[in-house]
Amino acid sequence: MASIDILTLKEQRKIKIDAMLQKHDTVWVLKCNYPGNQKLNAYTFFVFFTILKEMRTDLWRHMDMSFTVEGPVAIMWGNVDPVIIKKSMIMLEEDHPLGRYVDIDVIDAYGYLKRTAFDRPFRTCFVCDEIAHVCVRNQTHDIKVIQDHFVQGVLSYIDTPSKMVTFCAMAELATHPGFGKVTPMSTGIHQDMDVRTFIDSIYAISPMFDQIEQFDCDQESDMYFNQLRQLGLAIENQMFLTTGGINTHKGFIFLMLMVLGAAHYRPYDPLQETIRTLAKPLTMDFQDTTMSTTGLRWYRSHQIAGIRGLALDGLDIVFDEFLPYFIQTLESEADINDAFVSTLLLIMSRIEDTTILKRQGLDGLAWLQKQAKKALQDKSQWKALDKACHKQGFSPGGSADVLAVVVLLACFFYDSKEGFYGHQQTFPGRDVRKQ
């Protein structure tokens, strides 16, 4: 798809809205308030769906969604009183903790309804008290300062395991290009799932992660692991129920549970060690003679330990290589999404992704690792690699799951002064604030 600029996208939307107003009384549009030339990233994606969830219960049917450089945009319509819609949208913008990070337009046959007509003041800048439009026009603040405010606003809203899981799942989904995986604008190589499948799955499974908070941390580690495992099976089951049998999040669920479970179990101990300890029962899986899954079969034939191996290693490669890279790249990249893509490529170049092995075998994996390593140094290769992956049927599902856990650790369990410790602001039942 040719890159269409933001101004053209606006005009195309105007045409759409005008056509909708021929048939419906009111149209309303949800967008993010995020500055820059490329507005689609993990943070805007999360804000968008969090706010969208407040709006309609039948999530997909009465809306037109697009994901472009403009970021996520939803157009909704109805034969309803525009004044009622405008009032409720103003309230949402003002009262929801993430409300300031979205822009909701309400339009009827007479034009755009203005908040000033509802006795509401002009919206203020994120970082100072000036009217936002004046700051924007004066370009008073560096764009990175505004973007950072958005990011910090999102991160401080996320205070439960379920919100963390939602965010990380959205981060892996929003990252684009996807090198064959599903992205907001493409189903990748997949015929049976798209962005909506993933969003449905995310919302079905993420609340279940809050159950970790109820686990007894005084029990032995193998008992605790067993509880995690049971929860994992229940979450997986819910996933399959929601998607109709499609595996959107198996690997993701496993990695999230390992980290969140470890953080809850021993919040004062180094996370890597706790993960390593908790994972020990997994060695029993490798002794299972039926070896019924792809991952286990690759272990028997090639000693490739896959995702279980990562956990048994205490996610060493994540902590030692991927995390520092991600944190450093976030700092240096102007476009946040680029940092996520870069990190995904690093992961692709380093892990033995059994989802790749399944489709393309050892040769395919070797090829992909080599290409990913090359593309790391050179952004101009990304498009070509994305195209090649699509053409040859590659989809780095395992790498995307590892990206999600990198995001989890970097955003919620990392303190630049302390290095890593078990918790952040979650698990409110336990007094885990370091003195």
Partner: protein, 87 residues
């Protein structure tokens, strides 16, 4: 160059400007500006509009602008679009 055919560009969305270009029987340039930041930026907006028309060698038109806080490059792009569409 005179504008002989009406045209439009842009939208009423935040940070955009909706412009309409019409022929001017008076034979000169007339700009009608409405803006949410009129008080703070009227002069700058008019300056950009006039400069853009000058660069495109337009000598006669009525330019109607309904501005929602568009940056200079957006104003320029929308006026250029409208001019192109009226040729």
């Amino acid at each position: 160059m005179d504008i002989n055919k009406p045209s439009q560009a842009g939208t009423l969305e935040s940070n955009d400007v909706y412009v309409q270009l019409l022929p001017n029987p008076n034979g000169n340039i007339e700009i009608k500006l409405k803006s949410i930041v009129y008080k703070q930026f009227k002069d700058q907006i008019l300056q950009v509009a006039n400069q853009t028309l000058k660069d495109l060698q337009i000598t006669s038109c009525v330019l109607i602008m309904d501005d929602q806080g568009a940056l200079d490059h957006t104003i320029k792009a929308r006026i250029e679009s409208a001019v192109k569409r009226s040729l």
